[in-house]
């Protein structure tokens, strides 16, 4: 069978061309596919495999086309030369394809592993992402929680800082090296350091303490607290010196600051200014001491008064009974004068002890001033010039207390002029005091104005406002009570005292109200004589001291009275009842207020008034400041007489009681 050869050549030529085109198409598709994921190793493999196929197809197609062209153009011989090369290229290309084929499985395995890894990686990433998200969520919660805690901590810290700064005591905290971390407001005031200035400084620099008495530096409590780890109290009498040198007495304690593990992380000092407290305690101690002395003085004065009453009574009675020309009389007068001085001293002692209300009686102030000033200045190099008019109005005053005021002022003046000098005392009647200067005085009232002027160095202006304060003194051994008592006495007399001073000396000015009764009828400067009561009146003397009963009885009997005596209130009541039953009238009873171990006048007066509301009872006591003495009417008495008393005092009081 013979078959045509033309179909072979046609199919070969057209097939070569189509194969060339398809090869190019394959290469394009492979390349495009590869570009989508160039990291994909399998795509890379297919690309290379396709490239090998394409190279083969191109080589073979080109070879066949060249063959057809050469044969058709009569160059078959040339094709026979080229043919082995074309076949070799095709064979080589196919070897490459073969090699690629063998590597398919390996590439596929690698590809699969990579894909698996990639898939696993995504899962791992997803898992890890989920874990991270969960962790992130937890962290966010934790951060939120931490922020809340931090905010609460800051709030707490602020509250703590505000609390510490508001505490009334000084608070200082340090670190373990003793360097200041914190000062509160009080600490800033007491140390003179601000928080900013003190932070980081050693505690000893900021908290500078010394011994109050020895002035030696005190051991700082911070190192001690750090060493022992316990609360440490500061020793007594510690003085803190602030940055400006101001000293304050302080009391304090130091305590360790510990963390959760009980490790010491610092020290806190708490201290307070006890300067004022200490001063008050000292004043309290002084007051208690004075009170004790006062009780003692009062007791002595009471007994001394009773003795003095007997002495003065006897002297006074002796003077009355003696012939005026008797040579003994001046001696008795001297003794009487000394006794009066003793009486005055007793009254001062009682006033000092109790500081009570004055027992006033109408008196010539000028006479008291002269007697007191002369007595104080006796024997000194200080002279006294008096300018006291003879028509000076009388004053209702307690002679003992006013004498004490004058004495205090004269003693101060004398001490201010230790090298000698001159004191000027001037008294004058004042009808219209200058109310703008002395607002406490009645502008329509009548006063005696007394000025006591010395030519000493004067009182410094910065302390003149304090001189009337209790316990204020510029003297080393002064009690600080003299001017305070003087001020109190003058005030209780309804008067006023003030001080003025300059380089030429000091001036004390005293205003005392004049008496409101019989101002014009009583001759100035003369103590009124008592109206002698009718003789034969029956008077009862009740006193626990026999010598007082005896002298009082003698005084009264000498002046025509009948006298009965009783040693206490019980006996007085019994005697009074007996006389009532016997229809005998006791005109007046003089009762001692204080009867040790028995009924005193204060109780007995109510019992006797119960028996006879019209009874005239006179209170008698050495305690001129006793409330009963100053307000005797409220207790049922009609008069009061202070022991020791003289004949005239006794007669005048009885006259007042019977009138």
């Amino acid at each position: 069978m013979t078959v045509p050869w033309a179909p072979v050549e046609i199919i070969d030529s057209i097939g070569s061309i189509l194969a060339l085109l398809l090869a190019i198409g394959c290469l394009q598709q492979a390349w495009a596919w590869y570009r989508v994921r160039h990291e994909d190793i399998f795509r890379h493999y297919i690309l290379l495999f396709t490239l090998a196929i394409v190279v083969f197809a191109v080589s073979r197609s080109c070879g066949h086309l060249i063959k057809q062209i050469l044969i058709l153009s009569g160059h078959e011989h040339t094709w026979h030369i080229l043919s082995p090369f074309s076949g070799a290229i095709n064979t080589a290309t196919f070897f490459v394809i073969f090699a690629f084929s063998l590597y398919y499985q390996r590439v596929k395995i690698i590809h699969t592993e990579l894909e698996d890894y990639k898939n696993n990686l995504e899962e791992m990433v997803a898992l890890r992402t989920a874990e991270l998200e969960e962790t992130n969520f937890s962290l966010e919660n934790e951060v939120t929680e931490r922020q809340a805690i931090q905010k609460a901590l800051e709030t707490e810290r602020e509250r703590l800082a505000v609390t510490l700064r508001s505490i009334g005591d000084g608070v200082i905290t340090t670190d373990v090296e003793g360097r200041v971390i914190f000062l509160n407001r009080i600490s800033e005031q007491l140390t003179g350091w601000t928080q900013e200035e003190a932070a980081g400084h050693p505690i000893a620099e900021v908290f500078n303490i010394i011994d109050e008495f020895t002035r030696a530096p005190r051991e700082n409590p911070v190192p001690k607290v750090l060493k022992h780890g316990q609360v440490v109290d500061l020793a007594n009498h510690t003085t803190l010196i602030d940055r400006n040198g101001v000293e304050r007495s302080i009391a304090d304690s130091g305590a360790p600051i510990r963390d959760r593990e009980s490790q010491i992380i610092g020290v806190v000092l708490v201290f307070r200014d006890v300067t004022e407290t200490k001063r008050l305690n000292e004043e309290l101690n002084k007051a208690q001491k004075l009170e004790s002395v006062g009780v003692l003085a009062g007791g002595i004065a009471h007994d001394f008064n009773n003795i003095l009453t007997a002495i003065m009574g006897n002297l006074n009675l002796a003077q009355h009974l003696m012939n005026p020309e008797d040579k003994i009389l001046p001696l008795l007068e001297a003794a009487d004068k000394a006794s009066r001085r003793a009486k005055s001293l007793t009254q001062q002692l009682l006033t000092f002890a109790k500081g009570g209300n004055p027992v006033k009686k109408t008196t010539n102030l000028g006479q008291i001033i002269r007697e007191t000033a002369d007595f104080v200045l006796h024997g000194s190099s200080v002279l006294c010039h008096y300018d006291i008019p003879s028509d000076l109005w009388l004053v209702d005053l307690d002679p003992g207390q006013i004498s004490q005021v004058i004495q205090n002022l004269i003693i101060n003046a004398r001490q201010a002029m230790s090298a000698g000098g001159l004191i000027k005392i001037k008294s004058e009647n004042i009808s219209t005091p200058r109310a703008e200067i002395f607002p406490v005085l009645d502008p329509k009232g009548k006063y005696i104005k007394t000025t006591i002027t010395d030519d000493g160095p004067g009182i410094p202006a910065d302390i003149i406002e304090q001189i009337f304060d209790p316990y204020f003194t510029t003297k080393e051994k002064g009690s600080g009570l003299g001017l305070a008592i003087s001020h109190s006495i003058i005030s209780k007399h309804g008067g006023f005292i003030k001080a003025g001073s300059n380089e030429d000396g000091t001036v004390f000015t005293i205003y005392l109200p004049v008496t409101t009764s019989e101002l014009s009828n009583i001759p100035p400067g003369i103590t009124p004589s008592p109206i002698k009561p009718a003789a034969g009146e029956l008077i009862m003397i009740m006193d626990d001291e026999k010598m007082i009963r005896d002298i009082a009885k003698m005084m009264l009997e000498t002046n025509g009275f009948e006298v009965i005596t009783a040693k206490d209130g019980i006996e007085a009541i019994e005697v009074y009842q007996q006389y009532q039953k016997a229809k005998k009238t006791i005109s007046a009873i003089i009762m001692d207020l204080t009867i040790p171990g028995g009924m005193g006048g204060k109780e007995a007066v109510t019992r006797i008034l119960a028996l006879n509301p019209q009874a005239r009872i006179i209170a008698s006591s050495g305690y001129s400041n006793d409330p009963v003495m100053t307000d005797f009417h409220s207790y049922g008495f009609c008069a009061a007489i202070t022991k020791p008393y003289l004949i005239n005092d006794l007669l005048l009081t009885i006259t007042q009681a019977l009138s």
Partner: protein
């Protein structure tokens, strides 16, 4: 040819059903058949005497077939009928893979 067989077995074992793989398998089958055919053609060419070719002006015009081997030789000269489908299936496979991605 052995490479193609290896590839064919490998892809057959993997049992790919994704789009593109059937076309790639077809490519392998056609290229394998093409290999067999061209190998046979080249081998038979050594035994074909020139007398079996009729020539005119130096060109083959016809071929005389005396046996099945001659028939197989003649068919091997038409190998593009296998090569073109093979390349076409490769083209289809690549296109599907590209579109798929």
């Amino acid at each position: 040819m052995s490479g193609m067989v290896y590839l064919l077995i490998s892809t057959w074992r993997e049992r790919h059903s994704d789009s593109g793989w059937p076309q790639f398998t077809a490519f392998l089958i056609f290229i394998l058949l093409w290999n067999l055919l061209t190998f046979s053609g080249h081998w038979l060419a050594e035994y074909i005497p020139p007398s079996q070719f009729q020539n005119h002006a130096g060109h083959h015009t016809a071929f005389t077939i005396h046996s099945s081997a001659d028939m197989l030789f003649y068919l091997s000269r038409l190998d593009h009928l296998l090569l073109l489908p093979a390349l076409y299936f490769l083209f289809l496979a690549l296109r599907k893979w590209r579109r798929q991605s």
